[in-house]
Amino acid sequence: MSSFYARLIARTPKFDFVGKRIFAFIVTGCIVAATFGSIAIKGFNFGIDFAGGLLIEVQTTDGPAKIGPMRDILGGLGLGEVSLQEFGATGRDVMIRVQRQEGDEKAQLAALTKVKEALGAGYDYRRVEIVGPKVGEELKQDGILAVGLAVLAIAAYVWFRFEWQFGAGALIATFHDVIATFGLFSVTGLEFNLTSVAAILTIAGYSINDTVVIYDRVRENLRKYKAMPVYDLLNLAVNETLARTFLTVATVFITVVALLVFGGEVLHGFSVAMLWGLIVGTYSSVFVALPVLIYFNLRSGADREDEEQGTEALP
């Protein structure tokens, strides 16, 4: 019984991934440069989690929302920047974002009262979120701390389980993924909030998963083929694991698309980021994490490990 997949990939492919590394590094460099450029020029569209302010999701109780008049009413309240956005299929859902109010936490609560009074009846308040300036600042710090620590902890773990060369490669690749995802948020203006931090950490986790699978094979091949040049060895490892990479990307892709299409408004930003992260993470495993190993002296580490194992085997 031979399945469709067996016919699809009958032999181990022989793509020269490592040979394309200079081109890949240029692409990577461009992504990183574009990210920093965009952050410097555009910055982020911070959601209220970090910027503070109000987010109010209303649904009209009868008929589609009249967004123009709503905008006029709320714009005239003197609450600073107020943005309205329609979403959903029925045309009855409107997301209202009000910038952080000058002054302390009480000013934010007062703004909500003003909005409710101005809109009057006819609206169902489906979601209200208020974040004061104090909490916004703390959440921002926690988010930065979480991402920074995650990148370091992942690299440390890989270093601990493999060799320093792999740890360094993982560090570079994970940094790349995190930066590229920041870039997505900055370039597209996708709202950056707490869920975005969750997306970044999940992407880092997913990408390192991918990287570790390839690294694992590199380590195995280092032991198996002692005479093979590192260049060929790296290519072999990534080609051997290519089918797995392809399949796993496919299954995760399926679930992310399901989330994107059916997950609803709240998860939209998260799903978009995950989709991007899936591409970036897979790219970085194959084109960043793997080829950088060629610049580190891989053999020395592997030989040492073999010697250690050799001594252990002695009685």
């Binding site: 399945s3 489906r126 209200v128 926690d142 707490l194 869920t195 931090v197 609803g264």
Partner: protein, 522 residues
């Protein structure tokens, strides 16, 4: 080689059974689950899914300190007046001390023991120039602040309980924060209003030596203060001059209820025995004068004392609406907050949106899992089917784990489950690809299968543990719904390792034993 020890088979069966039993309550209606024992309950839903309100409150600790200083200043004033001592410069000093200057040298030694007694916990000193200082040491300040926070939590709990909300949760967070979670609350405005009031009720004598107008021009007698009236518009004085001295405090109340008097909503209250006696004494000594009823530094009303009130109970009238009378009596019953609270963060989700989110999450999960299942069968045929059994069991186990651990399922948590479904088959993909490779290197079917499972194990472990590192940090630093995401991701990874490695292996071994395939079905 493909033999499975009996205990391993038993373990897989036991774990599967556990998963089935503990996940079943999630399929039952609420009426049924309410009758189930507490150890067999469905996953509790986060506020973003069931609807409700999350409030992050902060206790104003600076106020606690200021109150401490103000109380000591008042106590000093009363004592010094009683002793007929001459003094100046009475007041707070810095953020942790109180000072007063005794002008007559003779008083310094005469009053030392008595003053010292006013605040035994403070560092007490009388300088050469007669300056008396009380300095609160750091530990004493911290102790009092902690006590005030503990008391605040208790008062918040009482107020929320009085409103009769379903399963509220009130927790201490960090140093001076209180998290209030109120499932099912659609509009937290009333609760916010109630929590925003300190509800400090005090009775003071009105100082009739000056008019409020004179006092407004800066001539407030020492020991008195100028307070606003709670209701500005109804033909009563806008301000009152009242003595700072508290005749009776709200802490002496034992009950307060909204009632009607002359067709008007009023609040009737009852004092404790000690409070009633004090109130009786005050009203007896001050017959014919005015008694100000002060709530949060605003005068609700200031009726004339016509006769001594010795019954230990009374009424507060102040042109309340029925709702205001209800709220005031609720606040008085629950007691005063030691310091004002501020709402730092509010997140409210209506029940409709919550239900929509559950629906969206369910559709996304179902669709994700169905597509992955089809994909696996297309790619791996019969072995894909076995991976799918493991995948479904993974979902069952994950649900059971979430239920047993009492974890809270949030919308990002559902996203975590959906993602886990995609990532869980990765372990199977790794194993099957390895089997295929080993077979291509010339191993027999059984040899390939065995080598595939064994060699892939290390890779699976390393790959999943690194992801767990990220999930653990997410749990540590995430808040609310994000924590829920970290929880499902972590538990999903753990249960997927079990199902992919143990369950699939068992199924594949049994299948090979029964079928004895001639070619590798991959």
């Amino acid at each position: 080689m493909l033999q499975f020890p009996k205990w391993k088979i038993m373990m897989v069966l036991m774990v599967s059974l556990f998963g089935l039993v503990w996940s079943v309550p999630n399929l039952l209606s609420r009426d049924v689950t309410d009758r189930l024992p507490t150890w067999l309950q469905p996953v509790s839903l986060g506020l973003d899914l069931q609807g409700g309100s999350y409030l992050l409150l902060e206790v104003d600790t600076a106020y606690v300190v200021r109150e401490m200083q103000a109380n000591l200043v008042e106590a000093l004033r009363v004592t010094l007046r009683k002793e007929k001592a001459k003094y100046s410069d009475l007041g707070a000093m810095g953020r942790d001390a109180v000072k007063v200057r005794l002008l007559e040298a003779a008083d310094r030694e005469r009053l030392r023991p008595e003053l010292r007694k006013l605040e035994p916990e403070a560092e007490f000193a009388i300088a050469e120039d007669g300056l008396v200082t009380f300095k609160y040491p750091e530990p004493v300040m911290n102790k009092r602040i902690r006590a005030a926070i503990g008391q605040s939590i208790e008062i918040v709990r009482r107020r929320v309980d009085e409103l009769g909300t379903r399963e509220p949760s009130i927790q201490h967070q960090g140093v001076d924060r209180i998290v209030v979670q109120l499932p099912g609350i659609k509009d937290p405005d009333r609760i916010k209003a109630l929590l925003g009031k300190t509800a400090k009720l005090t009775f003071h004598m009105v100082d009739d030596s000056v008019t409020p107008e004179e006092a407004g021009r800066g001539r407030v007698p020492p020991g008195s203060m100028l307070l606003n009236s709670a209701e500005q518009e109804r033909g009563l004085p806008a301000q009152y001059v009242v003595k700072k001295r508290v005749e009776v405090g709200g802490d002496q109340l034992v009950d307060a209820q909204p009632t009607f008097a002359n067709g008007q909503p009023v609040v009737s209250f009852r004092f404790s025995v000690a409070g009633g006696k004090k109130f009786g004494d005050t009203t007896r000594e001050n017959s014919g004068k005015f008694l100000a009823i002060v709530l949060d530094d605003k005068v609700i009303s200031a009726p004339r004392i016509n006769e001594p009130i010795t019954g230990g109970s009374g009424q507060i009238s102040g042109s309340f609406t029925v709702r205001q009378a209800q709220d005031l009596s609720l606040l008085l019953r629950a007691g005063a907050l030691p310091a004002p609270l501020q709402v730092l963060e509010e997140r409210t989700v209506g029940p409709d949106l919550g239900a929509d989110s559950i629906k969206a999450g369910a559709i996304a999960s179902l669709l994700g899992i169905v597509l992955v299942v089809i994909f696996m069968v297309v790619i791996y045929g019969v072995l894909g089917l076995m991976a799918n059994v493991a995948l479904v069991l993974n979902l069952v186990l994950l649900t059971a784990l979430l239920s047993v651990l009492g974890a809270t399922l949030t919308l990002p948590g559902i996203a975590g489950i959906v993602l886990t479904m995609g990532m869980a088959v990765d372990a199977n993909v790794l194993i099957y690809e390895r089997i295929r490779e080993e077979h291509r290197l010339g191993r027999g079917i059984i040899g390939s299968v065995q080598a595939g499972f064994e060699r892939a194990f290390g890779t699976i472990l390393d790959a999943n543990l690194t992801t767990l590192v990220a999930a653990a940090l997410l749990f540590q630093f995430g808040s609310g719904p994000i924590k829920g995401f970290a929880v499902t991701l972590t538990l999903g990874l753990i249960s997927s390792m079990f199902t992919a490695i143990m369950v699939t292996r068992l199924l594949v071994s049994l299948w090979i034993k029964w079928h004895r395939p001639k070619t590798l079905p991959l």
